[in-house]
């Protein structure tokens, strides 16, 4: 296996990245890179700033200092959107739309990975038979699975997954691991926050441990 990072710039890199809320630092200057085919596991206690970091990377929050590079180029938030898919605490599902309808809309918004369809993705995340169920009628874990289907359909090479394992059963945890594995095999990258209670996916993994900046 040749290491693409030897020939090419990292897929995602943070250089001296820091964030502050009301002038109070939330996380200090961070430097890390994530190569294609690699996962970055972000660990840290409750309140360490994991969610905040992912939101800064996604472009939802503006960093206090430092820069974010995609494929070696520093980019502003709008330009980064093509490269990133974000799974946050909010599911982005319309309660009154069916599960499949929700996916179709999100595909219209974010684009679609070649060779994938919303219907097939529902099967992959184990929601076959729930196509027409309204999002409001899904249980906590089923909603999470639907969000995972959205990520799966996204054409973006870098996944930002905030606690993807929460609310999932063992089968669901296995599903996330398989998804990440397949994505990395195709040359993508994934940033995953987790509390370490779950087995990390069996892929090339770096770790980033966050601590509260006080």
């Amino acid at each position: 296996m040749t290491d693409p990072s030897l020939q090419a710039p990292p897929l995602l890199a943070a250089r001296g990245l820091s964030f502050a809320r009301n002038d109070e630092p939330v996380f200090g200057p961070l430097d890390f890179t994530v190569d294609a085919g690699e996962a970055l596991l972000i660990r840290g206690d409750n309140g360490a700033g994991k969610t905040t970091l992912l939101r800064v990377l996604a472009g939802l929050l503006r960093p206090e200092a430092g820069r974010i590079e995609v494929d070696g180029r520093g980019t502003d938030a709008p330009a980064r959107t093509r490269a990133l898919a974000y799974l946050g605490h909010l599911p982005a599902l319309k309660a009154d739309l069916g599960a499949l309808e929700n996916l179709e809309f999100l595909c219209g918004l974010q684009g679609r990975r070649r060779g994938q369809s919303p219907d097939a993705a529902m099967g992959i995340v184990g929601l076959d038979g729930y196509q027409d169920a309204l999002a409001r009628q899904l249980s906590a874990g089923q909603k999470k699975r639907l969000s995972l289907a959205r990520i799966w359909l996204s054409p973006a090479p870098v996944w930002l997954l905030d606690e993807p394992y929460a609310n999932l059963d063992l089968d669901g945890i296995e599903l996330v691991n398989r998804m990440v594995q397949a994505h990395l095999r195709e040359g993508g990258a994934a940033l995953v926050t987790t509390h370490g209670a779950y087995a990390a996916p069996p892929v090339r993994t770096r770790e980033l441990v966050m601590r509260r900046a006080a």
């Binding site: 809320r21 009301n22 002038d23 109070e24």
Partner: protein
Amino acid sequence: MNLVVRWFHQLGSPPYFDRFAARWAPWCFGLGVLVMLWGGWQGLFVVPADYQQGDSFRILYIHVPSAWMSMFIFALMAFYSAIALIWRIKLCEILAMACAPIGAAFTVITLATGSIWGKPMWGTWWEWDPRLTSELILLFLYLGVIGLYQAIDDRRNAARAAGLLAIVGVALLPVIRYSVTWWNSLHQGQTIRMFGESSMDASMIPPLVAIVLGTKLWFLGSLLLRARADNLEREAGKDWVRQRAGIDTAAERAP
């Protein structure tokens, strides 16, 4: 424009601004009060009574300067907000938001003095006249800016959102100014010119100029003070603030 930005950048260091504001605010207040006192004394006791309105016209010396201030401050607030939004200068956010309560106060004074004056002149406290109405709406805009600033948690985001509203609201200023010409209005038309020919008796002008100048200085003083307070609040906990407050940082960290 670059000059302005550079100046704000230089001034924008929180400790530097704190010192700057602390030094200049008292001067502004002192000078402003002196000038206003002279103007007020002239206006109330020296200038002869109006041949039409008798003594009631003297309220003009409060009404007109505060009316001008209410509009001037809004424009200034929008100006600061624009700089803050474009160049992300924190000091400008602070200054813009410090403008709002002062401007709202001047607007209230304008409305109140106008109402008081309106009773003898028009026989009613209030009339839905374009200028009166647009001034009332200016008050609402001020309240909206203040309300929005307080409703958002993150101080910087709050200042940016409220600043955006201020910029949108600038469109109201020409309406207030020209409402008397565009519509037929109860309110007096353009009668006073600070420079050049005025359709007002010349003896009435100097006290007015003094009070206009005085309110500007007073405003500058309270702007600096408010901005300084906001600045200190945001920076609370930083070393320089503790030092200035006389808290020995080293001693506190030792145990």
